[in-house]
Each structure stands twice: as C-alpha cells, then as structure tokens.
Symmetry: C2
Subunit: 333 residues, 2 copies
Amino acid sequence: LKITISKIAELAGVSKATVSRALNNSGYVSPKTKEKILKIVQEHNYVPDAKAISLSKNLTNTVGLILPSTSGPFYGEIISGIESVFASKKLYTLLMTFGVSESPSEVRNRYLSLLQEKRVDGLIIFDPDVDEAFVSKIVALKYPCVFLGREFPGIDVDTVSVDNFRGSYMMMTHLIEVHKFKKIAFITGPIESYDSNERLRGYLYALSDYGIKREDNYIFRGDFTKESGRNLAEKILEIKPEAVFSANDEMALGFLEKLKEQENHPQIAVVGFDDAMWSKFIDPPLTTVRQPMEEMGKLAARIILERLQGNQSKDPVKAMLHTHLVVRHSCGC
Amino acid sequence: LKITISKIAELAGVSKATVSRALNNSGYVSPKTKEKILKIVQEHNYVPDAKAISLSKNLTNTVGLILPSTSGPFYGEIISGIESVFASKKLYTLLMTFGVSESPSEVRNRYLSLLQEKRVDGLIIFDPDVDEAFVSKIVALKYPCVFLGREFPGIDVDTVSVDNFRGSYMMMTHLIEVHKFKKIAFITGPIESYDSNERLRGYLYALSDYGIKREDNYIFRGDFTKESGRNLAEKILEIKPEAVFSANDEMALGFLEKLKEQENHPQIAVVGFDDAMWSKFIDPPLTTVRQPMEEMGKLAARIILERLQGNQSKDPVKAMLHTHLVVRHSCGC
DNA sequence: CTGAAAGCGCTTACAG
DNA sequence: CTGAAAGCGCTTACAG
C-alpha cells in the first residue's frame, strides 16, 4: 500500500539510487530516465518520507523555538519574524512554550532534550531568566543556538537583545528635556529581572547626566503585573511626583487606573515600556518604548540559517537592537 | 565520537535489542543487566536519537499547528491551550503560519506537504477560508486532523468551532431587552467570511424573534479592519442608530474613534465581537462577545491525542463551543 | 550515467 | 531473559 522509493525504482526499472538522484538533482541522471522517473513519481503522487531523509542526512530541517508561556504582545511578532525567513528556506519551526506549572529547571531540561534527542538542528531561545551555567551547558552541545532578549558577554554564543538601557535613557531624556520634569518616580519589575534592571539603570544614568539628585524613595518595586502598579499607586502619590516611569506598560496601566479612581487626582505624567498591543488605546494613550520584536525574530532566524549552512565556526553574533520612543499623550504631550 | 545504542550495547556487553528493551521498559530484561545498562547510559549521557525512533516506529510524536499570519489576540490562547495538553504527553508542536505574500493555495500545499512527507502525525488547522474540496483532500490522507473555527457538516472530519450565531444572538438580546434598543445598525466583515456571516445571521434572527423589522440599509459592509469601521462611520451616523453592532472589535474601535472626533457626537451604544486583548482598556470599555480560544486549543489537542492513540475510526467530533457575552460600558451599561 | 551495498540509529518479531 | 537479523525509507561513496 505505502509507496516508497523502492516501489518507484521498481516501477521505473531503475535502482533506488537513481530515483534518489533524479529527485534531488544530485549526480548525473540521463534526461530520459529522469523524465521517466519523474512521470511515475507524479502518477503515484510519491513524496519522500522526511523522517528517512532526516535520519540518513542527520538533519531535521527543523529549529526549535522556545518561548515563555505568556501570550504577551510580542511573542506573536517574534514568531512572524522567524517564520518569514524560514518559510522560503524549507525550514520548520518546532514551538515549545513554558508551562505555568513547570519549574524553570523542568522547562530547561525539556528544551535541552530537543537537542539531545536530535529532534531539531538548532534552537532559538527566549528564556528571560536563564542562567549562565545553563547557557554554557547548551553551548557545549555544539548546536546552532541563539538566545533572545539577553546578553552573555562571557559566553561564546549568539545573542540578539534589545537596548533596554538606551530605551529607558531616551524616555528620561524626553521627560526631562521636553517636559522639564525633575521629580520622576520609577516602578521596577521583579528584582531578578534583567530587563527591569537595565531599564532602572537607564533611569539612574539619565538622572545623573542631567544633574538631578537620585532619591532612593522615588524607586518602587513592582513585579511587572498590572496589580503591582495599582497597589503601589498610593505610596507613589505620597511623594507627589511630576511623572511616573514604569518599567513596563502593565504596571503603568495599573497605576493609571488607580490614579483615575481618585477624585480630583493630580495631573501626573505616566509612561511605560514595551508598547503593548493595547497601549495606544488606553486613556490617555500611553507614551512608551517599543521593542523591535519582529526584527529580533528575523535576525535570529538569519543567524541560525547561516550557522546551519556551515558557518558554525564564525565568531558569535552579539546583536543589540535599538528601541524606539513612542510618544503619545500620557506624558503630557 | 557520537554515542549510539550500539556503543552502549558494546560497553554493557549486551545486544542493541536488550539496551532498547531496558530503555523502553518493553519486554523482559533482568534487573541486573538493566541496572548495568542504565548506569552506562547515565555515565555517557546517552539519549536515543528521535529521528531513528521516528523512522522505525513511523511516528514523529509531532503534530502540525497551522495558524493564519495574524498575530491577533487569540492565536496565543490557542497555542497555550494546545501546549498545555501536549507537554505532558511528550508531543511536539510544529508551527506553521501563513506568509502574507503567499496565495491561499501555496499555503495549503505547504501544510498538506507536512502530512505527505510524514513530518507530523496529525494536523490542527485554523484556516478560516479553506474550502470543502481541500478539506476532503486532507481527509483522504487518513491522518488525524482537526479543523478549528469552521464546520464541515458534510465531511467526515473533526472540527472545533465557536457558536458565532448564538454569541451574536445573545448580544442582540442584551441590546434589545436590557437597553430597549430597536434601531440597531450592523457592520459586517468581508462577504466571504464565514464568521461574519454567522454573526450577521444572529443579528437577523434576533430582530425577527423580537418582532423588529429588518432594514437592509442598517447593514453596512466592512472588512474586519479598524479602518473600515472608521470609514463607515459617517454613513452609519446618517441613519441615526441607537446602537451599532460590529462583527468584530477592530471595526467597533474604528467607528468609536471616528464618533468621538465629531463634536457634540450623539450617545450611541457600540458593541463588538472577539474580546480583543485591548477591548477592556478602550474608552468606553467595549461590550463584546468572547470566544473561548484556549478551550478550543485544549479540545483540539485532546481530540488529536485520542486519534493518535488509535481511536482513528471513531465518529468524527463536531464540537461547537459557547461564546460568552462580556458586558462592559460601551453598550450603555 | 547507473547499480550494489553499506549506512543512518533505532525497534521488533522470532527463535532459543 | 537475551541475541541475531530484518526492517523502517532514505542517501551516498564506490566501482564500473
């Protein structure tokens, strides 16, 4: 019943090797036999089994894409960036997302095993909290891998990250130069978040560069959830800031909502980071920093592609993409 | 260099078959030899090659997930629904999205070939515009396949869809019973959209059931984009409706934005469909209909799983999930 | 230009 | 309880 290369060979009166050559345009095949073979292939609607090809070539033409569970705004963009370069190259994407109930180490073992089982030819990994030890472990496997959203200066691995520091700094420049704000509160993300720390660093550097004294009680610790922005609102209002810079849009929204619930609430500028899908729709439309997630996906895909095509030994790519200030009305503009 | 089952067998002084049995707990292996084998496996960090297993078992443990390019609100939810049931079952997801520049037939051939190449064991397909002929073609391949968001009553195939008709009808009930509206305009999607047509059908049935005369000039043809909602606004306002029911949230938003730009604009109820990620954040928060996308993903995954476990011949599952009315303020509540 | 044969790394009757 | 052997469906030197 099942139609294989042997059947085709038999029907065409040639060997499997010749059929293989005809199908792959590899080696010489006389035009006549080739034509005959292709005709039979057509008639029987024969398509070679990818599993067999994979085994004999030791190549799956598949790369694993690892993303956090969050159905956040940008994961879709990363995916489309990647897919747009893979589709034309006959490369496939094996998607693995984190389960909410899984521990970080379970997740990591799960995606590590994709490589160990040789189920994929390489990996694109967006794992915000991964540690250097694990990255080194992955790298030791010698498969093409690119990490997204993080930098590992000491490790010989490809990374594509986003300039959080600079984005944050630009936002501060806007608040300070355009709006003349001096009393600017900052809401951080979780203490272990690399992104949050970079954004905080941008805030602090800008203050320093503009000669504004840093006040530690202007810095509030959130956890990236909208709730935390809400809960912090009261305490933040006590210091009577001119502006509140939140390390992400969610917390900015939480703060804004709580703010609007106060009667006679003060006019405070509120800005965020991420440019979430809804940021432009809220009231007032949120001034924020946009991360080039689609570009990130595209670049990662191109890097993997190049590695797959044999440039395994080239120097690691350490790319950092620029963020863009998105000025809307919540800053007072 | 590469460590295979043969090496392990050699090191353990047994045959490959025995190693295979020890690893898979298939057949009998004496505790002693099993222990010895497992120890060596550990030491050498041996992980069997998934490609080889796939070939010999003719099973990839992978299912293809086909989604439109749109990084829309619900695709993320579908994915997490699917992943949540696959992760624990050692099933993998091959993700394929539509390229914007691709023709529908190119796209379909691309995902059809996943099956023909035996790259996946089954398919979960969200292809809003697929035609019956193609569905039949897929079905003929005899692989487990479930179609999302559409029904094919005449075809022996699993489907998981959403009750657009009922969702639309419920919305109308709300507008008519709670708000006593009679003059309700409707904005459709593209004429060929199945979803749009079902939603329109709900609108028309409700009118009829409540004895409200249907006025054809209350129905406006949009194309699901925000722009089309905007562009239709002027014409819609001419008929002075009490409420505008848009076949999706995007167009409702477009209409709302245009409406708010008019000075002294009338108080018109505006409601949508989809419960997009941003719908609750806009001003006023949008009353809409929520589709249970995560559930959809979960159910599809469970169906595929069951088919994969051998219940290939069972009757096709024709599931239709309920939508939920999400009442916020844009309807006047 | 073509074929026989070995190989990719597993699994699985079958025989003992 | 274990091993020898065939098989999964391809590719690819090698020889001619």
